[in-house]
Amino acid sequence: MHEWALAESIITTAVEVAEREKLKKIEEIDISLGELQQIEEDIFRFALDEILKSMNLRNIKIVIETENAVFECNKCKHTWNFEKDKLDEAEAEAIHFLPEMAFVHMRCPSCGSPDFTVIKGRGVSITSIKGEK
């Protein structure tokens, strides 16, 4: 599972931010999983737990939300949502590993352009880190 590497990026960043902002303790990390990357919450939570344990971090509340993906065509300005069933299995998995493979395997459903922007819901991000000063 390659999700471990991304989970590690979340925890490492949270620790760095906590140090920079001089938090005594991290209490909560809010994470957004962009729909395009198709990461399952269970798998991601498992990876996060493993990393937290290995770093001896305890009692941190992890809040995970999925953000729906929204695309906007740079040619015709049409906006649309992620339609996974239009992709074959290998294409969907490629996008799971590298979300920008959307520009290889997807097209604007209105005009056919490969040139579009992922407005929302690309991948893994941190929305907030809470802690004790």
């Binding site: 991304l6 960043t13 590993f97 590298l98 920008e100 520009f103």
Partner: protein, 242 residues
């Protein structure tokens, strides 16, 4: 909020002794050929070598080295770069099926950050990075995210090529970034033009690689490539610079 991927990139590269970005500013001067044969040669000398292809529009190193890309790389706490000819190899071609991608700059930057965050290189003597031409998102992300990278610059003996190459050199010098030196590739004739410009900037001129008409027939075949005069010239250059 901050991009979480940035915090682990340093971790992923921490057991690599030398990171060499093969760059030019100019296209078609042989960056991918130099990257591929440099990696191949070092691997044949029993060095632990990785090769990262960052040309997302025209990835070339898998073509030069004859690397199959039909299977997704294995996963283990990230992505494990598969090994071909002794080289740990990573390229978007594993995910793009070698189809065209219409990437804007921000997409290119996202691809690079994602690859750097998820690829588990392990310990390496050398990581060779094949850069595309230009001073765009790829080059700027390598400068900002991968430290220290040493730049190996490739040019040809042409005024048109040097127009772009000089821009890259001037920028790297201004930023005090380490430049290994300049390789003059596809040399025909014996003009001193490139050497003069390069040395006038106090950058090392590392020597030339001859134009090898038969190189095309060796493309895709690593053992043939290792026997071309290209490798001999490259070896001479490596000996005095790496």
């Amino acid at each position: 909020m901050v991009d979480p991927r940035l915090s682990v990139i340093k971790k992923r590269l921490k057991d690599i002794n030398n990171i060499i970005a093969v760059a030019s500013g100019k296209g078609g001067v042989g960056k991918s050929m130099v990257s591929s044969l440099l990696a191949l040669h070092l691997a044949s000398q029993d060095k632990k070598v990785g090769l990262l292809d960052l040309d997302v529009y025209g990835p070339s190193t898998h073509i030069i080295l004859g690397i199959p890309f039909q299977k997704f790389p294995e996963e283990d706490r990230g992505i494990i770069p598969p090994v071909f000819h002794g080289i740990k190899f990573m390229s978007i071609v594993f995910y793009s099926e070698d189809k065209p991608g219409a990437f804007r700059g921000i997409d290119v930057s996202n691809i690079i950050r994602e690859l750097l965050a998820i690829t588990q290189w392990g310990s390496l003597d050398y990581l060779i990075i094949d850069l595309p031409p230009g001073i765009g998102d790829e080059t700027l992300d390598v400068i900002n995210l991968i430290q220290p990278t040493e730049f190996l610059i490739v040019s040809t003996p042409s005024k048109v090529a040097m127009g772009a190459v000089e821009k890259l050199i001037d920028l790297l010098l201004e930023l005090h970034l380490p430049i290994i030196g300049v390789v003059e590739n596809m040399k025909i004739g014996d003009s001193n033009y490139v050497k003069q410009i390069v040395t006038s900037k106090d950058v090392r001129y590392l020597g030339s690689i001859q134009f090898v008409p038969a190189l095309e027939e060796a493309i895709g075949d690593s053992s043939k490539l290792l026997k071309t005069p290209f490798i001999k010239d490259l070896e001479r250059i490596i000996k005095k610079s790496l």
